[in-house]
């Protein structure tokens, strides 16, 4: 057992760090819910107010941004689930020539991430006339190497006998995939889904490049325009706007935090 002194020290350090880590968010809450003059003054009896939220709501089309973000993340996730399942299964269980080469090509995307290729991908999207559309924001992310890899690893752990049995009963390739593999990989789907949604909900640079108007602009880009110093908005109002923008994901995260953490850990272990 650790000596008491070291334990106390370790306990204090852990909690000091924990408070430092949660403090900025709490501070944003404080500033957003109190009149501007309390932004730097702490007073437990300071009156609560929603005026900053009203101002923020009136200054930017948050509903539209949120709708765009939901459509983009939904679009990306649904395509990812289908494409990665098919590719993951083919790479895990179907013998064909050039399989390892193809797997290598897939893994390359873990290193050469689409974020870095914004210049060329913008060119491609302009040629496809998909600038400023949800599809345009989503397209580069739909074939996720991470998702393919994760599902391939999971499918490989499914016992071959299960597949053989299903095959004997007359299941086709797709039937086997749908009835045997997909149900067994549920935890992986959940893990990948949560990681993917939180990544694309928060993504900024690529959406900034391909969106021009509120037609497709997601929350992060809207938040950046809203919060930019040159827009001259009061800091508590920026806090309120920021909280509106991160609210939905943050609430879902707080309710299902155990699930989220497990999912991130599950995805990280592979």
């Amino acid at each position: 057992m650790m000596p008491t002194f070291t334990r106390t020290l370790s306990f204090t350090a852990a909690w000091a760090l924990g408070l430092a880590w949660i403090f900025p968010l709490l501070y944003a809450f404080w500033a957003a819910f109190h009149p501007s003059e309390y932004a730097t003054r702490f007073d437990l009896l300071a009156p609560l107010t929603l005026e900053h939220f009203v101002t923020a709501w009136q200054q930017a089309p948050f509903m539209r941004y949120m709708f765009n973000t939901m459509m983009i993340t939904g679009l990306i996730l649904s395509f990812q689930l289908v494409l990665c399942t098919l590719a993951g299964y083919a790479l895990a269980r179907m013998p064909f020539k050039g399989r390892s080469l193809l797997f290598g090509l897939v893994l390359l995307q873990l290193m050469i991430v689409p974020e870095i290729l914004i210049v060329e991908n913008y060119r491609t999207l302009a040629k496809l006339e998909l600038i400023d559309t949800w599809l345009g924001v989503g397209l580069p992310y739909m074939a996720s190497a991470f998702g393919i890899f994760l599902l391939r690893q999971t499918f490989k752990t499914v016992p071959q006998e299960l597949e053989d049995a299903a095959r004997l009963e007359g299941c086709s390739w797709l039937g086997v995939l749908w009835k045997v593999y997909v149900p067994l990989a549920k935890p992986t789907y959940l893990a990948f889904g949560l990681v993917s949604v939180s990544h694309h909900w928060n993504n900024f640079l690529w959406p900034l490049v391909v969106t021009n108007t509120t037609n497709s602009r997601p929350l992060t880009v809207g938040m950046a325009i809203f919060g930019a110093p040159e827009s001259g908005v009061d800091w508590p109002v920026i806090c309120a706007g920021t909280l509106i923008a991160i609210g939905p994901l943050l609430i879902v995260f707080l309710i299902f935090q155990r699930r989220f953490l497990q999912s991130f850990m599950h995805a990280g272990l592979k």
Binding site: W21, I22, A87, I112, E120, A143, F204, L254
Partner: protein, 290 residues
Amino acid sequence: MNRFNQLYAWLMLLPALVLLLAFTHIPALTTLWHSLFFPARGRNPSEFAGLENYRSMLDDAVFWQAFHNNLWYAIGTVPTSMALALAMALWVNSKISGRAALRLAYFTPTMLPMIAVANIWLFFYTPEIGLFNKILNSVGLTGINWLGDPNWALISLMLMTIWKESGFFMIFYLAALQSLNKDIYAAAAVENASPLYVFRRITLPLLMPTTLFVLVNAVLNAFKLVDHLFILTKGGPNNATNLLLYYIYENAFSFFDSNYAAALTLVLLILLILLAVVQFLLVERRIHYR
């Protein structure tokens, strides 16, 4: 039958493959191609430039500054956030009181978009009324112009990045810690090994593969995450915080020289691949020696 299966496999891979090629592999190659041209000006089509873009890169002081900044940014953020992540994982994995709350506190920054974080931290860094300077003033120190002083701006960005990223890396260490074999710790307890000895001789070596994984991801993040620059500094003051990917963005979408941006992108790509290979070789060797 076998030929039929082959066809089937290719068909299943096809949709993913087309998108991967279209948005990862082919753009990586056309980056090279486009970097060999001058940008089209007005009605003139773009002219072949040979290696001219690369030559001007060598003379481009801003490129070198962004390059140096990015290296310092990686050196300043990666080891610190990894060490913090490991400490957090060890704490959260131990029998510390309130560990569920601690875990939540550590992890929450991961769930916030970098833009939101920057919006909030911008106020902490404000010169006169910002929180950090108020704290400094209250203990009798003069305030720092966090984002306006070229000597401090990059450090300010690093501080915020460490805060944002540590909790994310903690998750990987935590997952690894929970999957470690308990028997070896029981054996160490029988031998009366000190906690420090157990950590250095058992935990740390067993975590080596995780460390490699986190290291690769952390370095990658140091080069691909520039969202906060758009809010906090825009690369300034005087390019003191300009990073490679932000400079690529500026060239392509503010200066409209996508060919020079392509040349810069290629440099960044090569840099990342080299870093990955080096890291892999280094850590691989250490794992085998154990």
